[in-house]
Amino acid sequence: MDLNKLRETAAGIVSRDDVKYLIGWRRGTFGYRAAPYFVEDAAGVEELIFSPLCISNLAAYLTLVEKLPVPRGQEPDQRKVALLVKGCDSRAVNQLLVEKGIKRDQLVVVGLPCPGMVDWKLLAEKYPETEAPVEISWKGDDFLLLYNGQEIVVPRAEALAEKCRLCRHPNPLISDVTVGEPVQPWAPAEDSGVAEVEAKSTPERWAYWEEQFSKCIRCYSCRNACPLCYCEDCILDRLDPTWVNRAVNFSENTAFHLARAFHLAGRCIECGECERVCPAGIPLGKLNRKLAHTVREEYGFEPGLDPEAEPFQASYKPEDPEEFIL
């Protein structure tokens, strides 16, 4: 990855009068963390990075931004937002465009072909996090760590994030400008996580999810990190009526997670952020990918591939299967 090229491109974009800021990543403050980074001027691009630690999906920030009321006599800020996207992230942008959650003319999309990200928790098993940030880059198919002053090659299979093992779209599917050469897609691994749950009987599955949902502390990090969970008025925050009680127990937690999963069916672009951010280790990816698999296999639909697509839940084909409808 040519960082100079990325920084040069970014500098050109943030210098434009019609661009408010560019959202990318910078080195984190310790260990294996990369931090989302808002670049407002050309000087800020020096801190931009793109490394195997840039796993987060920045598309969430397109809808997370909180707008203050515009004072009387002033015009709202209509400048564009620029965003760095990997393949998976670009699918979130497409899906947001399909849903008219964002406007195309308010976006500048910088595509970054992605060779795959690391799951730092896998790395930390062998190489614990250090106070100084660890530099990581791609070296052929593998990862190169600069760890305590030593260069260490970590084989791809040892540290590749689960979502990247399953990835079918490493190259951005939408972009105004692309930095870097397209990568050769790799054969996606079989989704053993979903297969493992599918192999369970119904009572076993119920027991499995009961254990998982019981751990939830309802911090809503999964909802907030999800680029496609962006209702302005979330059912979970409603008090009148209270659709989901704030009480934390298996029943309310399940209502929360199932409501989210249902609403993501045919919309989830499998970026894995929900599972990555969960402090309780709930395997939300299995739940959402199961629905994504069903939508793909039964309806031949994959969200986020085409910004002009008809939304899955609002479309109908006469040959759509319906055997499972009770």
């Binding site: 984190g28 403050t29 310790f30 260990g31 963390r33 990369a34 931090a35 989302p36 980074y37 808002f38 987060s56 969430a60 920030y61 997370l64 909180e66 203050l68 614990p128 996090e129 250090t130 106070e131 254990e211 998982q212 751990k215 502390i217 309802r218 911090c219 809503y220 990090s221 909802r223 907030n224 990190a225 925050d237 008090l239 209270t242 009680n245 704030r246 009480a247 934390v248 127990n249 990555r276 951010v277 402090p279 309780a280 280790g281 709930i282």
Partner: protein, 337 residues
């Protein structure tokens, strides 16, 4: 009874005996470490890493029934809080946090629920021999073997645990177990001092809070708040898992003619936390909410109670999914003009 030694041969007998007294200890529960009840015969293993969910959850449960009510009945049904609890393996930071939070619950109104639970709880602490990456307890007045808030302090000496009874409750408990313990000699105490010093020297991160409480009011409109909060997702991780965060909401739950009033953790990082009925929100964005989180811990609480409401456990820095790092924020506060 002064300092005692518990040989590790007798560890399971010790925990077995306590398990009959409503004992809770750190346990990995499907991928998340928290305090869980220890049944008879359950093994208790204390390792280096602290729990993700702080033991505050036992004194201040995430969801707590205050009382139950039913239609047409004037009498309210209050929960009986009378069962003593023993928490084993509490880290000094988390025990200090309880001492700090107690100041709030004893302040203008004495909170009967928190204080009753506190009274019923015996805290057996475990000094940290191996501090975590983001531990910075000495910076904020604690230390790897701080005793504040604890009833008993345990130090892992390798072959045995050194146990020091610190309060009447703690000493009484050791007295009950004295057939398993032996008097600690000067060498054990010396070994403890050495381990504590070594542990303190292994703490990698620090920030000197000197001047922060005084500086914060003047930094109200500083651009640093925008900078440090830009990436914030607005989730509840940093507050829910903070041992000194105590904000709660109170709601009624009704099912038909019966219901309960309960209180549950709330978070100042949530948008609706300060939202008025009118729709106005005095903390309209994550910038104001982040500023409040830091000000509350490092300024308002200091003004009111004379102590920083942060024990340097490092959870917020460790667990934030977007690397919003408290230590980094504090350094930026210190560096601000």
């Amino acid at each position: 009874m002064s300092a005692m030694l518990l040989h590790k041969d007798k560890w399971s007998e010790f925990t077995g005996r306590l398990s009959g007294k409503n004992l809770w200890a750190p346990s990995l529960q499907g991928g998340i470490k928290k305090f869980a009840p220890v049944g008879e015969g359950d093994a208790v293993q204390l390792d280096a890493e602290n729990t993700a969910v702080p033991p505050k959850a036992l004194l201040f449960p995430q969801t707590e029934t205050l009382f139950r009510f039913s239609e047409g009945q004037e009498d309210l049904e209050f929960p009986g809080l009378d069962e003593p609890v023993i928490l084993l393996g509490v880290r000094p930071c988390d025990a200090r946090a309880m001492a700090i939070v107690e100041k709030l619950f004893r302040w203008d109104y004495e909170d009967p629920y928190y204080l009753k639970r506190r009274e019923l709880t015996t805290l057996i602490g475990l000094a940290c021999n191996e501090p975590g990456l983001n531990c910075f307890c000495p910076s904020v007045g604690g230390g790897p073997a701080s005793t504040e808030g604890l009833d008993i302090l345990m130090v892992d000496l390798g072959e045995s645990y050194l146990l020091e009874g610190l309060t009447g409750k703690g000493k009484a408990l050791l007295e009950e177990c004295k057939d398993l313990l032996e008097e600690a000699g000067a060498d054990a105490l010396q070994q403890k001092e050495q381990l504590v010093q070594e542990a303190a020297s292994k703490i990698r991160r620090s920030v000197d809070p000197e001047g922060i409480p005084e500086a914060l009011p003047g930094l109200w409109e500083d651009p640093l708040w925008q900078r440090v909060s830009a990436a914030c997702l607005g989730c509840g991780i940093c507050t829910y898992l903070c041992p000194t965060c105590y904000c709660f909401d109170i709601q009624d739950e009704l099912e038909g003619a019966v219901g309960r009033r309960c209180r549950m953790w709330d978070s100042c990082m949530f948008e609706e936390y300060t939202k008025h009925t009118s729709g106005h929100n005095p903390r309209p964005t994550r910038r104001e909410r982040t500023r409040n989180r830091i000000n509350h811990k490092y300024s308002y609480f200091v003004d009111k109670f004379g102590v920083i409401a942060c024990v340097g456990c490092g959870r917020c820095s460790n667990l934030c999914p977007v690397n919003i790092d408290l230590i980094d924020i504090l350094r930026q506060v210190k560096a601000a003009p």
